[in-house]
Amino acid sequence: MTESLSLDGIAARLADIVGASHLSSAPADVDAYGGLSPFAVVWPGSPSEVAAVLKACTDLGVAVGIAGGGAGVAHHWPLTAERPRVVLDTLRMSNILDVDETSLTVLAQTGIQVRHLEEALRRQGLTLGPYPAELQLATLGGLLAAPPAIAHSPQTGLFHDGCLGLSVAHADGSSVQTRVAPRRATGPDLARVYLGSRGGLGVITTATMRVYRVPELVQPIAFAFTGLEAAHAGARELCASGVLPARLRVLGEEQALSELGDAGAPVRAACLAVLSGPGALVHVQHRLLDAILGRAGGMELPQPVAYRWWERSRSPGVQPDATPPAGARVRHSRLGEALASVRELTRRRPLNLWLDELDLHGANLWLGSRRAGEGKRSLAALLLDAGLEPFRPAFSPLMEELRQKLDPRGTLVVMES
């Protein structure tokens, strides 16, 4: 049953739930959410408030866009049919509910920013894992609902794979919570329904994440190569050997220059690795890595170069490039070919090229530009021309059907890319 109320009436109803101070229709607040042009934004403070807001919106025929930190492209919301829209911002849902130091898990509300969660964990000698600093401004909910390709480490895998359980509020106001266990064989992994659902299936209100002890030793290492292919071959061999670095990147010439600065000698290509873990293990891994990258034709760069790179890449607030890079997943066996065609297409444009998120199967090939005005879309087009498929999250038809079951009235708005 849809009631019809004026916008003020809707706002009043929602304010009843979250409290008047946690709802705003002020242009300054509302404009922050760009494309959706909501008439109001609500900041619920608890999972039950979230559920109540969703239920009210469904009952009132109001569309809801969910906002986390807005680090993603929060402005690509599709325009829904003519009906009132609100934004549900998770900002206030930023409590850490439990840190289980025995099981190494943290239960937190999903509006918490990753850097705040990380800071709190660090105080207990724990960490979310060796993920890139670029994620710091995102919220936990944002990372789970729209996992970026860069949230990956060869050592710990994808960030969202560390999600052991979560609770969700659906459009009809119902809530579910998945049981936390290391592994289960009791049907589909229902938590996975929501990972990557971009706000379209429900609001993730809390999540239990795996955490790690702060590593005993961290060792950045940089190798120079005469070409990207050789550097890739070395990195691939590393992945197959069982040495699992916390970070692993392969850089083309331009990117090496911008990340390493002056390395003392010209670097045509580089392989950067960060080993971490118990000291004794890191030493052995280092020896293996030396042998593997050496065999692939690499030359180790002086330690200060590696440390400098590591420090710089860790400091929060690294500026995202003027143009966000575009990337595509490529299997190892096709990487040589892919590099060749990308290089062919970029011969006259000085683009930055690097590989990241390497695993046993392949890597992400990234294209970036330091020139302003080089749109992300044109980079993506370049990848397409090279026969690669740039990342483009989209609901599969089945997920779309599930969305219609969980949210038949279409209250929740799925973000587009």
């Binding site: 290391p182 009791t186 052995v284």
Partner: protein, 522 residues
């Protein structure tokens, strides 16, 4: 047995199937219907022992050879609401592959081909009906391994592994099957053929995986494969108590060590594990039996002759008491708990990990037993699967309850389950799938009762009490055997309101509810 409302086959079904499959791939024969009437749910053996071998016979068995054939069969079943039960190796232990409402059993074993293996990309694609050991052999021939070694590797299939979220003996290093799968092809309950991959978001793969045939029929899977390990090392320890062993395992894993094998046996299981490696009843087992024998003699003035028969037969009817006795006597008998670890891979890495692990275990008071017990375990790693025969033949029964919890909840869970069932059965436990955040416990219980009816009752009661204890302690009712028919009644408690989401998935993927009806508490 859980007989749900039975489908009444239409007489035309056979001839309509003939339009899809050649006659030799359709059977309504009585031997086929009998053999496909049960899986390896131990409770069905009570029925077999009672001379009732046909437990839940399907009306028809079919052997398709392609996803297209399956899609055509599904469409036929949709029209007439015919239950359709996917069947792999029938090694499931929860009645999952049993045609509890009749209908068609769809055996995938003719779809058993390796479609692609790439050492460069670390992946291989197989059809779902391939038998585990055959799959591993095919990879080994090419210098590769999946790293998945369930004790049922000889008798189960890839599709069954995926459908029931199987775990192998090297899971600490290689993960469970759900950690190994990258992409799937499956036929949904509405006849659509879908291909999905973990590169998509949201990822459909972990939703089809684990669905035990209730959402889709898996026809093909792309898996992560590794180079065959060049090197393997074992170490064994004696730890004073289960809690100390768990502590050592936890610390090691949380430091980032990834042994391929991690096994911790509780006091009772340790005695048997030590004995079994040596083939015939040896040291520990004989000591246990001898001690039990003495105690019994003392109490009842009975003379215990054949100690082995004691364990397997008559004595099992007093299993609860035996188990309590065993627990009381263990301190006198046992050298604590046996822990086995094994590492594989690059030799220097193995060596470093072994040393770090060693230090962790010494830190919890463990005593080094060298490599012997580990090697012996490895050599006999599948032997345990053959052991149920003598027990059933002697009139007893046994089953396994594999549950899991985070480390914080693990020991309370262990104690509660033991307490809940040790008055009914002899209980052994080992901890063999460990993760940084928690661990599974694999309980084995053995008991006996007079006659079928009493055995059935006792069997059900053990499960009821055991699973109630698991749920109370916040564990999961299954770590890798699945739910099937036997645990269906516990799904509501396991999932709470989230079960509704599973039902929605079912409504999307199998709108008519023809796929494996009556299972998973849907």
């Amino acid at each position: 047995m859980p007989q749900t409302q039975r489908y009444r086959p239409s007489p035309a079904l056979g001839s309509e199937l003939l339009a899809i499959l050649p006659a030799e791939r359709i059977s309504q024969g009585s031997a086929d219907r009998l053999i496909y009437s049960r899986d390896m749910w131990p409770k069905t053996l009570l029925s077999v022992r009672d001379n009732k071998p046909s437990v839940c016979p399907p009306d028809v068995v079919v052997w398709p050879e392609s996803a297209e054939e399956i899609a055509a069969i599904v469409k036929l079943c949709r029209r007439d609401h015919v239950p359709l039960v996917p069947w792999g190796g029938g090694s499931g232990v929860c009645g999952g592959a049993m045609a509890t409402s009749g209908g068609i059993v769809l055996d995938l074993k003719r779809m058993n081909r390796l479609l692609l293996a790439s050492s460069d990309d670390g992946l291989a694609t197989f059809q779902a009906g391939v038998i585990g050991q055959t799959l591993e052999d095919q990879l080994n021939r090419r210098g590769l391994t999946l790293g998945h070694f369930p004790a049922s590797i000889y008798c189960s299939t890839l599709g069954g592994w995926l459908a029931a979220r199987s775990a192998g003996q090297l899971s600490s290093k290689y993960g469970k099957i759900e950690d190994m799968v990258l992409a799937l092809e499956a036929v949904l309950g509405d006849g659509r053929i879908v291909r999905c991959s973990s590169a998509e978001q949201p990822d459909l793969v972990p939703l089809i995986v684990g669905s035990e045939g209730t959402l889709a029929i898996i026809t093909e899977a792309t898996l992560r494969v590794h180079r065959l390990a060049a090197h393997r090392v074992f170490r064994a320890y004696e730890v004073p108590r289960v809690s100390a062993g768990c502590e050592g395992f936890r610390r090691a894993l949380q430091r980032g060590l990834r042994p391929a094998v991690m096994r911790l046996y509780d006091e009772t299981d340790s005695l048997l594990a030590r004995a079994s490696g040596q083939g015939r009843a040896a040291g520990g087992q004989r000591r246990l039996l001898a001690a039990l024998g003495e105690e019994l003699e003392a109490r009842h003035g009975e003379r215990i002759g054949d100690l082995k028969r004691l364990l397997l037969g008559a004595a099992l009817s007093r299993a609860g008491m035996l188990s309590r006795l065993a627990e009381r006597m263990l301190p006198r008998l046992s050298g604590g708990c046996l822990a086995i670890v094994g590492f594989e891979g690059e030799p220097s890495l193995c060596q470093a990990e072994v040393e770090l692990f060693h230090a962790e275990l010494l830190g919890v008071g463990a005593r080094d037993l060298g490599e012997g017990p580990g090697l012996s375990w490895y050599q006999h790693r599948y032997a345990v699967s053959y052991k149920q025969s003598p027990l059933y033949a002697a009139g007893g029964f046994a089953d396994t309850m594999e549950v899991a919890a985070t480390w914080e909840r693990l020991l309370p869970l262990y104690k509660s389950v033991r307490e809940a069932i040790s008055s009914l059965a002899m209980v052994l436990a080992h901890f063999s799938h460990a993760y940084p955040e928690g661990c599974s416990i694999y309980f084995t219980f053995a008991a006996a009762a007079e006659g079928r009816a009493k055995s059935d009752l006792l069997y059900d009661e053990i499960w009821r009490r055991g699973l109630q204890a698991v749920i109370k302690e916040g564990g999961t009712i299954s770590h890798h055997h699945g739910v099937g028919a036997s645990k269906a009644a516990y799904m509501a408690e396991e999932h709470g309101p989230a079960l509704a989401v599973y039902r929605q998935l079912k409504a999307v993927m199998d709108p008519d509810g023809i796929l494996n009806p009556g299972k998973m508490g849907l």
